[in-house]
């Protein structure tokens, strides 16, 4: 009997792993010891974004020294467990060029696109997750998946540009259903076979796609672009279906969880968000591990964060503007507390990613997580010094444990570095004063 990797892997997921000898598993590793999926491909490097509103407090988060071995600061404390897998960037600059400083937006757009936005609430290009998804997502069921932990259906910073925001799932149940509901076939199930219903749907889509010529007739330029986007979306769902006819290659030891029994209360109250974030993170992590998607975007609030702690009549965003700076401390104490909560929520996502073992490391080791926010100092809508955090080893391409201290670099250098680490062939990134061709090479392995 021919031993193929697929057969062996399947065996592993049916409880026989314990009986397999470690050296025997070496056949799954390539010459450098990197994990291979059963197809012989390397485990894909996944990409995540984590969005949190209203920034951090400079005095409390920026480490005193640059480089490695910096002393953990008060606001980075929740991330201490991941310090060696994390890089933090302080002192980055966001030049606006001729555009206004759109409050709670210019920073988001600069971090996500490397472009100072020309319109409030809109991105001037695809966001970084979509630029990366264009390259890495072929073969995964979904090109990308977004989730909003506060339940706001508009809270997604994943966009095709302009107003074309990719809608987020707004409850754990909705996220579960999209990922593991109807249409999902458990790749570890013994009797997996291509679902003929998918082939039928492909024929339906091909008729829809054939209407393109007439649908595009006599449109003005703006509407032409919108109609073109419609057909691009049709194409993407066609690709998604083609992917579903292939058995996904499980590389990690995960179990598909049961559906959340009950759609929980999802709103801006912090205690609810603290329950939703780990659930959404876990579902996202399992989706990445089972190759349902390679790009997962999680946001915990909108840019002007509406999160509130019960009993605080102002809430996060309003506090950033109305809480006086404590004359002794030199910062806004309540805002600082909200900042820490943002980092605790971030740690929840990292914990889920790092908790899944695959190949030679964890899912986090085979991922990059790009965490960004809207303001560096929300009280005055400042963006220079925007906190950016990047976690994960990108399958060995990204070093960790650095504090990259402000040398007046533009924020787009991080985006470029991230793309390099993701293996995207790109020379430069960003536009106008934010255009850069200099990644932080010291971080790239």
């Amino acid at each position: 009997m021919k031993l193929d990797r697929r057969f062996l892997l399947r065996g592993m997921f049916h409880g026989s792993a314990a009986t397999m000898m470690v050296p025997f598993l070496d056949c799954f590793l390539d010459s450098k010891g990197k994990a291979l999926a059963a197809t012989g491909q390397k485990v894909p490097t996944r990409f995540n974004t984590f969005f949190f509103g209203c920034g951090l407090t400079k005095q409390l988060w920026v480490p005193k020294t640059a480089g490695q071995n910096y002393e953990t600061t008060a606001q980075l404390k929740p991330l201490e467990a991941f310090k060696s897998k994390l890089n933090v960037f302080s002192g980055l600059r966001i030049p606006f060029d001729d555009n206004p400083n759109y409050q709670h937006w210019s920073g988001v757009a600069a971090a996500a696109t490397g472009i100072s936005p020309t319109r409030n609430g809109q991105f001037d290009s695809k966001t970084i997750d979509q630029q990366i998804a264009d390259v890495i997502s072929r073969g995964a069921r979904y090109k990308s998946v977004a989730a909003a932990a506060s339940g706001n259906p508009k809270e997604s910073y994943s966009s095709l540009g302009g107003l074309n925001t990719l809608p987020p799932e707004t409850t754990p149940l909705a996220l579960y259903t999209r990922l593991f509901g109807p249409g999902f076939q458990d790749p570890s199930s013994g009797d997996w076979k291509p679902d003929p219903a998918i082939m039928v749907q492909q024929s339906v889509l091909s008729v829809v796609a054939d209407d393109r010529k007439r649908a595009m007739m006599n449109l003005g330029s703006g509407d032409k672009a919108r109609m073109d986007q419609y057909f691009t979306s049709v194409r993407e769902v066609e690709l998604q279906m083609a992917t579903q006819l292939q058995r996904p290659e499980l590389t990690a030891k995960v179990e598909i969880p049961a559906a959340p029994t009950d759609d929980m209360l999802v709103n801006n109250a912090l205690p609810n968000i603290r329950k939703v974030v780990p659930l959404m993170s876990k579902l996202g992590a399992i989706a990445l591990a089972t190759d349902q998607t390679r790009v997962f975007n999680l946001s915990v609030s909108e840019p002007a964060s509406q999160i509130f702690i019960p009993g605080d009549s102002l809430g996060y965003h309003q506090s950033t503007h109305e809480e006086p700076i404590d004359p002794v401390l030199g910062y806004q104490p309540r805002v600082a507390q909200y900042n820490v909560h943002s980092m605790e929520l971030f740690a929840m996502l990292l914990g889920e990613l790092d908790g899944i073992q695959e190949g030679d490391g964890t899912l986090l080791d085979h991922s990059l997580v790009y965490a960004f926010t809207d303001q560096s100092f929300a009280k005055i809508h400042a963006v220079d010094g925007l906190p950016i955090l990047v976690a994960g080893g990108a399958s060995g391409r990204m070093k960790g444990g650095f504090h990259v201290a402000g040398d007046n670099s533009t924020v787009s250098r991080v985006g470029l570095t991230v793309q390099k680490a993701m293996g995207i062939s790109v020379d430069g990134w960003g536009l106008n004063s934010m255009e850069t061709k200099s990644p932080f090479t010291e971080l790239l392995a």
Binding site: Q103, D211, M217, L219, K224, R226, F308, S313
Partner: protein, 539 residues
């Protein structure tokens, strides 16, 4: 009833000579508008075409508010992959239901020669009938051919005529010709510029007035050309307005104009306001819609009454916040507040007071900004980036009420220009807390609800109501919003002359909504269009 509809439709299909389809190929025709269906428009259209017992389950991409209306975003948004995936699944589920054993007798107008084999003639009949209704125009020969052919292939391979039909119908339901409302214009015969073709006129009228797809009679009036004559148009407009379905259309409009979708994204602090629970937001939204439609349609009253009336409709949970007994047996009951309550129409409804407040604290500024934008069409510019708001928050200091704190803040000249237009409105509403309950004191101090706006002094919500009642800006704003809503435009960019016909009819009638509506849509300019820039005649 349905048989009659099908017969009428059949005559449109049979003798329609592809009028609508030909329009796009006609020389000089242009697509001047592409409106993505809203969730309600989609649901209502499916219910009208296939019946209310067809389930529509799925998620819809949200709209974006532009110039005060999400309707404006339907003219600029597209469909993302996630959005299409959802539409595609819904299309399949709807088509499966429509062709199921349970529903086919009612929905499939012909009997196949055999249920186990393809039948092109029956498939053609059904697909052209639903094609006309879903695309709001007859299918082209090619559109029909490809679908009949799919139905044939699928029927053959599955040995089931209805399975073939199901997939044919599914292609219609996820086509851009259904999911977007295409407005097609042709060169005007007797003047410069363009005018909407008859089918596009029918769709614009129907989605405005009924929030749904044109019915058989309206489609027939488009097909016969009757709709393009002033008398034919008036006949159809009168018919649409006489129907109880006008309420559905105006519900959608007022939901948008009053920004009632804000409830989807706000939360209340249950520690301060334990009475605020999940169903409360839906009830508050419903109160506003019911009481607005009561004034505007049921009573056909002066729309300005909305600002001053003490009459409303409430249910049990709202009654507990309003502090009134609810002894009615049914779910909703009319209620009239006493003069001592200081309530004044829409301004003091729970919806407006709660949507524009913080989770645990009222906000005169939020309320003022919202009222200016919603009722007067006066948006407030964003504040400067570097503003010191700490005065506003310092409840521990000597300034106990938000009024004192705001005044200190607005003493700053940069801030004053906006706050002077915004704060008086919000301060006059301070007698009501974050969830709309009545109150007299803030942090132990009596609340002063006096205000001065545009040189006029008034007191409390009632004073504000009378002030707005007498402002010509309110009726003008209603007309501007309705016109922009109908056309998918940014209300802030619309010229006043564009809705002049409607506004004059509105004024002349003593501010009756029906007069405004009829004035707008029968204005000879209503179906005019300008060709979009950078047109290409072929893809």
């Amino acid at each position: 009833m349905r048989t009659k509809v099908i017969l009428v439709l059949a005559s449109v299909v049979a003798c329609g000579a592809w009028v609508g389809a030909a329009a796009l190929e006609a020389s000089g025709s242009q697509v001047v508008g592409l409106r993505r269906l809203t969730e309600n428009e989609y649901r209502n259209s499916i219910a009208d075409i296939l019946g209310k017992n067809i389930q529509v389950q799925g998620t819809f991409e949200p709209g974006v508010r532009i110039g005060g209306l999400t309707a404006a975003s339907t003219a600029v948004l597209s469909i993302t992959p996630a959005g299409f995936e959802s539409f595609s699944k819904m299309a399949d589920s709807i088509a499966a239901q429509a062709t199921s054993a349970e529903h086919r007798k009612r929905l499939i107008s012909c009997q196949p020669k055999s249920e186990k084999a393809p039948d092109d003639s029956c498939a053609t009949q059904v697909l052209s009938q639903y094609g006309l209704q879903l695309f709001r125009r007859p299918l082209t020969a090619e559109e029909l051919r490809s679908r009949v052919s799919l139905a044939r292939t699928m029927a053959k391979s599955s040995g089931d005529f209805y399975a073939g039909l199901r997939y044919g119908m599914a292609t219609l339901l996820q086509s851009p010709e259904f999911l977007f409302r295409k407005e097609i214009a042709v060169p005007a015969a007797d003047k410069d510029g363009y005018v909407l073709d008859p089918y596009s006129r029918a769709a614009r009228l129907s989605y405005l007035m009924w929030d749904t797809t044109p019915d058989a009679e309206l489609l027939q009036s488009a097909q016969s050309g009757e709709l393009t004559t002033p008398a034919g148009l008036e006949k159809q407009v009168d018919r649409l307005m006489a129907s109880p379905r006008l309420e559905t259309g105006m519900r959608a409009f007022f939901t948008d104009m009053f920004m009632l979708d804000t409830f989807n994204v706000i939360s209340k602090d249950s520690l301060f306001y334990p009475k605020w629970a999940g169903p409360m937001a839906a009830a508050a939204q419903e109160e506003t819609l019911r009481s607005t439609l009561d004034v505007a349609l049921t009573k056909n009253d002066d729309m300005r009454e909305l600002l001053v009336t003490r009459k409303t409709l409430i249910n049990r949970s709202l009654a507990s916040i309003y502090g009134v007994p609810f002894s009615f047996n049914g779910e909703w009951a009319p209620h009239e507040f006493g003069p001592e309550t200081g309530r004044s129409g829409l301004l003091t409804q729970i919806s407006m007071l709660a949507m524009f407040s913080h989770p645990g604290r009222s906000s005169p500024t939020k309320r003022g900004v919202a009222m200016n934008e919603i009722l007067l069409c006066e948006p407030t510019p964003t504040p400067p980036n570097n503003v010191d708001f700490s005065e506003v928050n310092d409840t521990g200091g000597p300034r106990k009420t938000v009024r004192e704190r705001l005044m200190a803040h607005a003493a700053d000249k940069t801030c004053a220009s906006c706050h002077n237009a915004v704060d008086p409105i919000g301060l006059s509403l301070e007698g009501f807390d974050t969830i709309g309950g009545r109150r007299d004191r803030e942090n132990g101090e009596m609340i002063d609800v006096s205000a001065t706006l545009a040189g006029k002094s008034f007191h409390g919500a009632e004073g504000l109501g009378k002030f707005l009642y007498n402002s010509p800006k309110f009726p003008s704003c209603v007309a501007r919003k309705l016109y922009s809503y109908a056309n998918g435009l940014n209300a802030e960019e619309v010229e006043t002359s564009a809705f002049k016909g409607g506004l004059e009819a509105f004024q002349k009638s003593g501010y009756r909504l029906r007069a405004l509506l009829k004035g707008l849509v029968t204005d000879p300019k209503f179906f005019n269009a300008s060709a979009p820039e950078a047109n290409h005649t072929s893809p």
